[in-house]
Each structure stands twice: as C-alpha cells, then as structure tokens.
C-alpha cells in the first residue's frame, strides 16, 4: 500500500487546476502532486546560474535616465527647441511630443575604475560604480503607469499574468519553508499602481504569488492572533480544529488536499513565528544600520526596506521586490528638479549600503540586484520643468549575481528618446533574469487553458551573455 499510495500521488490527476509542466525535470507534475509536497519546495535549476535570489528595487513612476545614468550633451545644446524633424514623433502619455527639449541640469562624471557615467544626483553611487551593469537601451510597451508597471512586473500591459517573482518562485521554488518565497515591501501606505496584481500569480496557483510585508506590528495580513485572544486560547481552538480535520481525514486519505490543508496550518504557524523576526532590525549592529542610512530621516524608510531585503534573502527568500515611491511618486511631469533631487536623496545611500553589505557578507555573488522603474522620461519638457513618460528608451541596472560590473550595455539616440543599440525589451529583461538564475526561459512553462505559457510571452531573448561579460 505505501508503494501504491505514493504512486497514486505521483500519477493522480485529480486536481482541477491547470496541469503544470515542471520547468526543471521535464516531468509532468500533476495538481495533487503539487499539493502533497510544498508546491514551492526547492527545485534544481537547468544550468548553473550564479544568482540564487533577486532584489528588485522598483522606482515607481519612472525615474529620468537622462538625469541619472544616460548623459546627452546634445540635449543641452538643443534645449528650448522642439524635437528635430529627424526624430520620429512618439505618442506620449500627456501629448507633449511637440514641447521644447528640456536640458539636464546635472553634473556628470565618470566613476570607479570602469569610468561609469553617473550624475550628481546619486553621489554615493560612485563607490559602487564598478559593481553596476547599466543597461541604457530598455524598452517597454506601456506609455502609462498602469501598463508600464503591469508589463515590468508581469510582461503584459493588461494584467492577468503571473509576475516575474511568481515565475522565479515557480521555476526555482523556495529554500525557506517558513517565509514566503516572494515578498514585497513598499515605502508608504500608498498603493502601487494596479494594486496587488503587480505581485500576483495570474493564472498560476496562489502559492506562487508575492506576499506584501508591511512595516508595523503585523507584517503579513492576518499574521497576528485576533486582538484580545491569547496564545493559549488560539492553541486550544486550533488543536480542536486539527482534531476535527484528522478525524475527517480517516477513510479519505486519497484526497491529498485534505492533508495539505492540515499542513497549511502548520506552515501558517511557522510563518507567524518567523516572519516578524525576519524583518525585525533591532538585532542589527549600529554600524550596519548606519550603512543603510537608518539614522537619517531622509534615508530611513528606504534604508529599512533595503536592510529587510538583505535579511530576507539571507533567510532564503527568492525574490524581494522593494517599491520606492509607491503610487508613482517618481513621476515628474513638472518640477522634476525638486522631485528627483528628493527621491534620489532617499535612495542613494540605502542602495549603496545594500550593495556593500551584500558584498561584505559574500552574498552579492548570489544575489541579483535590479534597479529601475516602469519607464524613463522624455527629452521633451512638460509644463516647462518636467518630463513625460518614455517607454521607448530608458535605463535599468543590474548588480551582483555574477553580473559583470562597471559596464554599460546598449545605447539610446543622441537625445535619449529611442533605444538604438542592443534594445532590451521588458520580455528580454525577464528572460535574462531567469537565465541569470540558471533557468532557461524557454523551458519554464506553465500550461494554461491548453496553451504553454512562458514568462516572456514567447517573445524574449536572454541577454545574460553580455551582462555576465
């Protein structure tokens, strides 16, 4: 019987959910098989990727590549005049394609041994210049925040698909049993554009979705005991429930969902114990806190997020996504100088602290750090002193996880409007991230409505070769 039971579990297709093709072994894993084992249990990658986890620093609203990583001398020369005829007129969100070009007021220098260009808005970044691989030729399809944020997270501008973190979680599984393999932390109460579907699992089972960690006494929704209920009372109730469920299971063992639900209470219980500890920064040394800028009002919030991210990847969390400027705060249709100066001030030190801390702990090699927003900004001005959305050419960077630092990949045209060399579409970016984690994006397949679905909607190509250098 044990043999046949195992076999039953192996072969049973009793599940009603989509049939899942294992990304890794090529073996079919049926619904109930997934339910028996922890569906996000660790899996083995296709090839040896250096990166084991990802920290995605999402600057929501669209930071200006033209004022941070992609200097354009011609822009300042032509400032005040309209976009030259030789440039194709883009469709812009606010219809400002005809507005005069806006100069970049930044001072630009080359930094590190590699001579990477970084503007004076990120002064501390000079010390990590040789760790960054700056990709200046990113391209997205979303001209508005909703479409842009949705595509950067899920590959589609509409919604309804699994997010990148869910794909990673599906492909690689989780090292930790007690923490969600995909966690999201925001910098304020404001909601990220499109809400929780940014970290949703789309058509995949919910076990792959991201979990929102909130600061405060209840980091995960419903993690704490109901107010006023003691541990003892809760235990009394849950052990009675467990007894009911165990009795119910007798004579129904073939239904593996029943056992999985009993087990899900244990998982929940362990999460209750572990999650608050994972993001409790009290035990961190003062020097570490200083690295992240925790003592400084301006950098404290994002510094805390970055430090939590390090603690989470240390504990085996696969994918951590940090939102800075949740609710499109990086959006700067007007008054960009003021807006960007403040926001850059918020993130400069925490990001540098994160990279350096990961490095000193030997974690940087296995942690892929990604920086960027849903798009960049136009060389044309808006309302005099702002810039409109630009999805046709913008900058993101990667560091760690085996990425070759101190290099620049791709280029935009002389005004930074369109990506011209080595275009990296969001689909390519997603394929690349999987590749860096050791997964072949063509083989990470989820069968949905009778069709094989992939992270890149079958359109991406990995650029890992160049990025690894």
């Amino acid at each position: 019987m044990p043999h046949s039971r195992r076999q039953f579990l192996m072969n049973s297709g009793a599940g009603f959910g989509g049939v899942v093709l294992s990304a890794l072994t090529g073996e079919r894993l049926y619904g109930s098989e997934l339910r028996t084992r922890n569906p996000v249990a660790e899996k083995i990658p296709h090839h040896l990727g250096k990166a084991k986890s990802v920290i995605f620093l999402f600057m929501e609203g669209g930071p200006s590549h033209l004022d941070l990583f992609d200097p354009k001398p011609l822009l300042n020369k032509l400032a005040g005049s309209p976009l030259p005829e030789s440039f194709e007129r883009p469709v812009t969100a606010m219809g400002e394609a005809g507005s005069p070009l806006l100069e970049s007021k930044r001072e630009w220098k080359q930094h590190g041994e590699s001579g990477l260009w970084i503007s004076d808005w990120l002064p501390r970044h000079s010390s990590i210049a040789d760790d960054l691989c700056v990709i200046r030729s990113c391209v997205s399809d979303g001209i508005n925040h909703a479409g842009g944020v949705s595509q950067m997270n899920t590959g589609s501008v509409f919604g309804g698909r699994p997010s990148l973190g869910a794909w990673v979680n599906y492909g690689l599984g989780s090292v930790s049993d007690n923490l969600p393999a995909f966690t999201v932390i925001k910098d304020s109460n404001a909601m990220v554009v499109n809400g929780s579907r940014c970290w949703g699992s789309g058509f995949m089972p919910a076990s792959y979705q991201g979990t929102l960690f909130e600061s405060g006494h209840e980091p995960v929704a419903n993690l704490n005991l109901p107010e006023g209920v003691t541990e003892k009372r809760q235990r009394g109730k849950l052990s009675f429930l467990n007894r009911l469920n165990e009795e119910h299971l007798m004579g129904r063992q073939s239904n593996t969902e029943l056992e999985a639900r009993i087990r899900s209470y244990e998982l929940a219980y362990r999460m209750q114990a572990e999650a608050p500890e994972a993001i409790d920064l009290e035990s961190e040394q003062a020097a570490v806190k200083r690295m992240y800028g925790l003592e400084n009002e301006q950098t404290r919030v994002f510094g805390r997020q970055c430090l939590m991210a390090r603690r989470l990847v240390e504990r085996g969390v696969r994918f951590v996504q940090l939102y800075h400027g949740a609710g499109s705060k990086w959006d700067s249709h007007s008054g960009m100088e003021k807006n960007h100066a403040r926001l850059c001030g918020n993130v400069d030190q925490p990001i540098v602290g994160l990279i350096q801390d990961l490095k000193q702990r030997g974690l940087l090699d296995e942690t892929l750090v990604i920086w960027g927003g849903e798009f960049g900004r136009t060389p044309m001005s808006e309302k005099g002193d702002g810039r409109d959305h630009n999805p046709t050419g913008f900058t993101m960077w990667m560091a760690g996880g085996g990425v070759k630092g101190g290099q620049t990949i791709g280029a935009t045209d002389d005004l930074g409007l369109y990506a011209t060399e080595d275009k990296l579409h969001v689909h390519d970016l997603h394929a690349t991230v999987l590749d860096l984690l050791g997964l072949d994006h063509n083989k990470v397949i989820y069968q949905h409505k009778g069709r094989p679905e992939r992270v890149d909607l079958n359109e991406g190509e990995s650029a890992a070769g160049e990025i690894l250098g």
């Binding site: 001209i143 579907r197 409505k449």
Partner: protein, 935 residues
C-alpha cells in the same frame, strides 16, 4: 484573397472538434449517461462506486445548484422523501432547486467567470462601472428563466441588432464590453486595436472553445487556424463601440421621458442658455486642451464632421471624446471654472436656484444601460498585409462566406456571426456548452480544457457522451436546466465520493477521469463566503440591482467586483480577477488561507453570529446546541463521540477564554490608577473587567446615541473619551466615536473615529474627518489621520483638539493612552490640515457611536465622554473644564435629557467565557475540512 494557401494535413482535417456532432444511439433501458460512463469503466475493468447517502447527496446538490448549504429542515425533508422513494426524492429535489432564484445566482457566476465580468475598468484608475450590474442581472435571469442557449448567445453578440427595442436583451451586449479599459490611454488607435483583439479572442474562447489569440500574429502553431481566420472572425466584430449615453428603457419609456424632458427644456431654455454661457469658455478650453494631448493623426480624425468620418474614425473619436468628457466632468465643473465669489459664480448660483424651481417638471433620469453596438452600418475595415479581410469562418471548415444584411445603424455582421455560431451544423457550440455544464457538475470537463479544444489539449475522455449530450442539448431546445437534470439523475452523479481507491483504480485511472467515484471537491470562493453568511443567519437575499460594497452580507455575485481591489475572502479562495476569460477555477491550499480563516475578523464574526443564532440569549451551550451546530454546518447528525469531544472542548476552552477576558481587561493596578484619574466610576467599570459600560454594538438596539443640539464654534472644539473598541469593520467604514456629520463630502461637519481593515489609512488609525472651508473659501473634505493605532478590546483614553482657526492651515492634536497598561504612555500627535473654518453643523445634533442617522458604527463601549467649545491643552485634559457634554455612561450620571438611543431591536447577549468557548467551537466548524470540502 489573402492567405497562406496552406494545405491542411490529414491529421488536421481529422481534428475531432471540427467533425459534425455525431448522432449516437443509446439503449432504451437505463440512464443514457450511465451507458457511456459504465462502458468506459468496464473497458478499464473498473466500476462505479455505491450510491451516495441521502445526506451526502442533498448537500452536494444544494452546493452544486445553489452554491449554498441546505438548511436543517431541507435536509430532513429530503431524508423523509428518500426513505419513501429514492428516485422520486432525487427528481423532486432537482426540480425544486432548479426552480429557485438561488440557482441563477450560482450558475450565473460560472458564466461571469468565462466572460471576464467585473464591475470596474481595471488599469490604474479602475473606475467603477455603475451600470455593469445590468449585464450580471441579465445573466442570472437568463439562467433562472432557462433561456434557450442559442438565444442567450445571439443576444450577447447582437442583442442590439435583433432586439433593439427590448432593453433587457440589448444589455446582453455588455458581453462585448466586459473587458478592461484604460481611462487615459492617448494612443487611441492602439487602444482600439487592443479592445477589438480582446473581443475577438474572448468570443472565440467563450462560444467556440477556441484559443485563437496566437493566430493574431501568425498561423496557429498547433491548431489548423490561420492568421487569416483570426482576422476573418475579427471582421464580424470590428465596428463595435461602447456608448455611454444609452438608457435602459423601452422606446415607449424613452419617448415619454423625452417628451417630459423637452417640456422642462423649453421652460428653462433661457436660464440654461445663460448658465451654459458662463461655463462654456472654461469647459471648452479644458475639452480642447485635452483633445490636443492625442497624436496629431488622431486629432485629425476627431476633427472631421461626424458624417464624414469612417466607422473606424468614429471608434477612435469615441475613445478621445470619452476621455475629454471625463476631464471636463472631473476638472472643469462649474465651481472649478468659476472662481468663488466672482460675479460669474454668483450669477451661476442664482441661476441654479432659479432652475431648481422647475424641478417638478423635470423627469427622473432614465437608468443607464451597459451595452455595445456598432459605430455605423459601414464596417470598420480589417486588414491583413494591407488587404481587407472579409467576415468568414475557419478555412479548414471550407464553408461559404456568410450572407450579411446591413442594418440602419449597424453592420449586421454580428448577427451573421451569431447565426453561424448557433446553427445546428456548427460543430463547436453545443459541445462547448454541454462540456461546461458537465465540468461544473463533476469538476472536470469531458474535454479537459473548456476554453480551448485545440489539438494540444487532451482528447475528450468520453467523446460519444459529449456528442450525445450535445445532440440532446440541441434537440431539447438548448435548455440548460434539462441538461442539469439529465446529468444529476445519473448514477454517475449519484455515486458517493466516499470510496477509497485500491490498486485497480490507482494503476488504471489515478485521476478518476472515468468516474469510479464522485470527484471530491473543495468549495469555491463564493460557496465558502455565501455558506458562512447563510449559516450565521446574516445572508441577505437580493433580486439583482446595483453592485454592493465589500462587506454587505449579500451573495458574492452581488458584490462589487473591482479588478484592482478584490474582496479578500473571495480572492484568497481563488476567485479570478476578471482580466481574461477563466473557464476553470484554480483550487489552491495555502497558508494564507489558514491565516485568514484562523485570524481575520470576517470568519470570527460569522462564528459569533452562528453561535448567537444557536444559543440565543443563553450563556453557555448544551449537548443539543452542539448537535444543532453539526447539523447546520456539516449537514449531518453528530456521532455520540463527536458530541462528547465537543463538550470536552467547550469545558476546557472556557477556561482559556476566562483567562483571556482578564488578560484583555485592565487588571493591572497601575492601569487602574491611570483610568481613575480620568473618570468617576472607574472602579465599578474595571471590576467588571472593563466591560459593562454602554455597549454600542451593531445589530443591537443600542447602536448609537443621539444627543440633543450643541452649538459649537465654527472652527474649534475639544473632545475626550474613555472607550473600548472591540473590533473594526472588515471594509473601509469608519468606527465613528463622535460626530456632527452625515458622511456627505459636500455637507459641513466633523467626525472623530477609528479606521477599519480596508481603510487607505490602515486599520485602527485614530482620525478626524472634516468638511469645512479651505483658505480659498471652497468646501473641502479632508481626513486628518493621526497614525496613532487604537488597540482593540482594552480601555483607552482618546482626545482630539480641533483647531481650524489657523492662518492658511488648521491642525488637530490627537491624544491616545492605553489604560490597560501601567506603562501606557500618553501619545500625542499634531497633524496639519487645510480646513480653516465652517465645520459647525446647523442642527447641532451630536451623535455618539455613529454618523448622524446611523451608519459607520462604533463597535465596542463608551464609558465616558466629554465635549467642550474650548481648545484644551494637554494639562487640562483630566480636569476638562467647561464641558457642554459630560457623559458618564457607567453610572448613567450626566445622560442629558432628550438623548435617545438608535439601533436595531435585536437582543445582544452579554459575553461569557462559556459563550466565547462555543463561539470558538463554531469557528472551528466553519474552518473545518468537512465544511470546506464536499467529501
């Protein structure tokens, strides 16, 4: 002729789903469904399980057809009938269930999943669609009335063409506009393409079971569907748009309305002309500047006179106009265009008053429809490789091009498509629908991928059964209820799920595709939520209507389905988000669900209500109460040993809850001292474990207290209270402590409260809401949030000092102190706001525990309350000089004459450890696998 000229292979031509539906002969004796199921089982050397018990069957049938558990009496009734004659009992039960309006509420949901229904736009703004419910009600009604499926299909694709004068059928075309819509997309041409592609994809998936999205860019890689076929299908649908100005009315109603409206128009022509003149320039400027944000070629199309526009250009213009109108409606309202106090504004207000004198002439506006139609009788051209593609069907089928009859305002193409879809020769339609029906009864379709019968999918497990059912469906007049009965009376459906497989089943058919037992299932999201509400006695039945807010105790199908903010219980149990057609639910088991069941307020509240329903005013439970709980939640009699175990649990748990109450109260001496300094009578209050002050409980007759008028200054006051908040609402409602406000953002007033679960300020945030004047003199609604979190179930001291006198800015000072803890510090926060006066309310009535007239209730107790016209300093708080209200609820001193309680006439029993233990017992039952699974 566009086309790849591709030759189809023999295998492609033999694709099962393009073969005509076969006529299958079944033996005259026995149930036809069982003939097929048994034959397959027999071939595999297997057999069906025994018949399910009456209890198992009745619970399955109720959840299946109604999505609700049977009531105790309904189970008993069925058992009695079952004893007499099983077949008769089953037959009668199915008839009875199909005749109930609850049936449409369950099966309508399956359809809404498939047609990606939601009550909001998606994308960033996720605007509410106030009229979308009319489509939802149409679907529910169609199922309840057993509308023939062919009519159902035709109305959804072309109700505007085939039944233009019947609003109930026209609204079926809401099907074509259930997809997402982006409110600020300036690339109007791309937006149109996205919308038309989406309609094409979903039409093929829903009615034809064909996933053809891939063929948009290239010939389908796995199925014999050409890129040309995709666009030929699109050509039927390419002229659709979504008018927002159509009324949900018959032509007669419309004519009557217009007549009365014209009379009003004539009577008010002069006044309105002058009003229009005042705002026109400002509004037009806003409109025009918005149009300018679109690409030049779009502006060109928009600028053409309507009669010169092509259908395509009209579609584009509609998208532009929709945004421009939204812009004017939100950013160029008369009060925004005309400066406050300006001569124009004053004149406008005067005219408004004059206009309102004619209100009696003005007819009530007609309700809005939620429909789709074409932009004209000439079709928007569909092109592939620069050549026009005409409407047509799959090349593989080799059918002739359809005859299309143009209508006055539409192309007639959608009617032609609908006619083809429901033609009896169409090999897809009936198979797709009977497969969906089968799928929802057994959890898995005969063909496993209900939206895509493509060649990649699995072959049907019982192809002949599928064809036989499809044939029966068509010959029986496309009646869905008949199919339910046919399936549910079969032995296959009536067999038990309580059979454990042995080697034979495990080796041959581990997935139970051949149905050697009834497939066990977890309840779906709506079944779980609705069943909990039904058991707790809180479920409110509706007959359709406007979508309800998240916490309304109505069936889930009537809740607002917002794409970006799904209802938490439903989302947690795998309700789809509504972005794409979802033919089947995922069925997950996650720790998140366990956390929600164990710790969140929603199931706890249901458990309390269920316990209350069983216990009434009793303080503790007896064996009979336990038995009743089992009967209600599990639909069966409890076994003796189960009752015994439950009684043991109640006895041990009441010791746990007893300690709990003490822990939750203010037993700590220092805390007592802290409390004593704030009000008289503290000792007697605390002696009762900080319970026994006036309980302001929703559902009791003491929901709130209405205090007689108090005239406060227009810009300042201070209030303090000793209170206990037991729970917050599970939606965004505020737990109102004290207010002089009706909740209307246009109506001056103020309110002090604590936020709930879904508040954008986070839960348990102490806030003040103000509606008053801003420095510009305009009315402003503002939430002043302290970010001080009020602990639950313990006595706390709160105070707010509202100072709206500032030059250009007002401020509120908040105080909060946890009185149950000796180390509870007085927390103090000052928050600035824009309101600088005008917050007083003329009536002067003050409401304790609610907004004026009830609503947004406080759920807990109030022991002491004071209100003064002065601005108090922190050191004045204990003394609290010159109160205009000084309420000491504990010993009833100071209840002013004229104060009256408001609320429901329902008894709310006092809490006790034994009662709380029974609540815990009910909570365990509602979280148990025996409740959550039909197994």
């Amino acid at each position: 002729m566009v086309g790849s000229g591709r030759e189809f292979t023999e295998k492609e031509k033999a694709w099962w789903v393009v073969q005509p539906v076969r006529k299958v002969v079944v033996p005259k004796v026995g149930h036809a469904v069982d003939f097929f199921v048994e034959r397959k089982l027999g071939q595999a050397g297997l057999m069906m399980s025994e018949e399910a018990s009456a209890e198992e069957f009745v619970r399955r049938a109720y959840f299946d057809l109604h999505g609700l558990p049977p009531a105790v009496g309904q189970v008993e009734e069925f058992l009695t009938a079952w004893e007499k004659d099983r077949d008769v009992a089953v037959n009668e039960l199915i008839d009875e269930l199909l005749a109930s309006p609850r049936y449409g509420e369950r099966w309508g949901q399956h359809w809404l999943d498939v047609v990606r229904y939601a009550d909001s736009d998606g994308y960033r703004a996720d605007d509410f669609r106030p009229a979308a419910f009319r489509y939802r009600d149409y679907v529910i009604r169609a199922f309840n009335e057993d509308k023939p499926y062919d009519e159902f299909v035709k109305e959804q694709l072309a109700g505007d063409e085939i039944a233009a004068s019947d609003p109930e059928r026209v609204v079926a075309t809401g099907f074509l506009r259930n997809g997402v819509y982006e409110w600020n997309q300036r690339n109007a041409e791309m937006q149109r393409e996205i919308m038309i592609n989406e309609i094409t994809d979903v039409t093929a998936e829903v009615f034809l079971g064909m996933g053809i999205g891939c063929a948009q860019c290239h010939d389908h890689k796995f199925d014999p569907i050409l890129q040309k076929d995709y666009f030929a299908l699109q050509a039927f649908l390419s002229s659709v748009y979504w008018p927002d100005d159509r009324s949900f009315a018959t032509p007669e109603e419309l004519a009557g309305y217009q007549k009365r409206y014209r009379a009003w128009e004539e009577a008010t022509a002069e006044i309105r002309a002058e009003m229009a003149l005042l705002v026109e320039a400002g509004q037009r400027a806003k409109y025009n500047s918005h149009v300018k944000t679109f690409p030049p070629e779009v502006q060109e199309m928009f600028a053409k006179p309507r009669e010169k526009q092509s259908s395509y250009e009209r579609q584009i213009s509609f998208l532009v106009e929709r945004q421009a109108i939204r812009e004017v409606e939100t950013r160029a309202k008369p009060e925004q265009v005309l400066k406050k106090g300006s001569p124009g504004r004053l004149r406008y207000e005067e005219l408004e008053t004059q206009l309102s004198a004619f209100d009696r002439l003005k007819p009530e506006p007609l309700p809005k429809s939620f429909m789709s139609t074409d932009t004209g009788s000439e079709a928007a051209v569909v092109q592939l490789n620069s050549e026009e593609v005409m409407p047509g069907f799959l090349t593989l089928l080799g059918e002739a091009a359809p005859a299309i009859e143009r209508r006055e305002t539409t192309t007639g193409r959608r009617s032609a498509l609908a006619d083809w879809i429901v033609a009896s020769e169409n090999p897809f339609t009936a198979r797709v629908m009977v497969n969906r029906i089968w799928q929802h009864h057994f959890g898995r379709g005969i063909a496993a991928s209900p939206n895509d019968f493509g060649m990649l999918g699995e072959e049907p497990t019982h192809p002949e059964l599928l064809d036989w059912l499809a044939g029966e469906f068509m010959s029986g007049g496309w009646k869905v209820k008949r199919m339910h009965k046919l399936i549910m009376t079969s032995a296959a459906y009536r067999q038990t799920a309580r059979f454990e497989p042995s080697n034979a089943q495990v080796q041959t058919d581990p997935g139970n595709k051949l149905l050697w037992r009834f497939p066990p299932r977890r309840l779906g999201a709506e079944q779980i939520r609705d069943a909990m509400l039904a058991l707790s006695g809180e479920l409110k039945h509706l007959e359709g209507g406007v979508a309800q807010g998240g916490s309304s105790p109505v069936r889930s199908i009537y809740l607002r389905k917002m794409r970006n903010t799904p209802e938490r219980v439903l989302q947690c149990f795998d309700s789809p988000a509504g972005f794409a057609s979802e033919p089947e639910r995922l069925n997950t088991t996650t720790p998140t669900q366990s956390l929600l069941l164990a710790n969140s307020e929603w199931p706890l509240a249901r458990a309390r209500a269920l316990a209350g329903r069983i216990l009434g005013a009793k303080g503790s439970a007896e064996g009979g109460d336990v038995r009743e709980a089992y009967r209600m939640v599990w639909g069966r009699e409890a076994k003796e040993k189960e009752v015994k175990a439950a009684m043991e649990f109640l006895s041990s748990q009441s010791k746990n809850t007893e300690k709990d109450q003490r822990a939750g109260g203010a037993s700590d001496q220092k805390g007592l001292v802290a409390l004593k300094s704030f009000f008289k009578g503290a000792e007697s209050y605390l002696a009762r474990g900080a319970r026994g002050a006036f309980s302001l409980k929703p559902g009791s007759k003491w929901e709130y207290l209405e205090l007689p008028g108090v005239q406060l200054p227009e810009d300042q006051f201070s209030a303090s209270a000793v209170v206990r908040l037991d729970e917050v609402h599970d939606d965004a409602r505020v737990n109102t402590l004290l207010s002089q406000w009706n909740g209307n953002h246009q109506s001056q007033g103020w309110s002090i409260g604590v936020t709930s679960e879904k508040s954008r300020y986070g839960p348990r945030n102490l806030i003040v809401q103000l509606v008053g004047l801003n420095p510009g003199g305009d009315l402003e609604y503002e939430v002043v949030a302290s970010n001080l979190r009020v602990p639950l179930k313990v006595p706390v001291f709160v105070a707010v000092v509202v100072n709206a006198r500032g030059e250009g800015q007002g401020r509120v000072t908040f105080y909060l102190k946890d009185l149950s803890r000796s180390d509870g510090e007085m927390q103090r926060v000052e928050v600035g706001h824009k309101v600088v006066g005008g917050i007083q309310r003329k009536s002067g009535k003050v409401f304790l525990g609610a907004r004026s007239g009830g609503g947004h209730l406080w759920r807990g107790e109030v022991a002491r309350l004071r209100l003064t016209r002065k601005l108090l300093h922190e050191r004045d708080l204990p003394e609290f000089p010159d109160p205009v209200i000084d309420l000491n609820v504990v010993d009833l001193a100071g209840l002013p004459s004229g104060a009256k309680w408001g609320g429901h006439e329902k008894f709310s029993a006092a809490s006790s450890p034994e009662r709380e233990a029974f609540e815990d017992f009910c909570h365990a039952l509602l979280s148990s696998n025996e409740f959550l699974y039909l197994h």
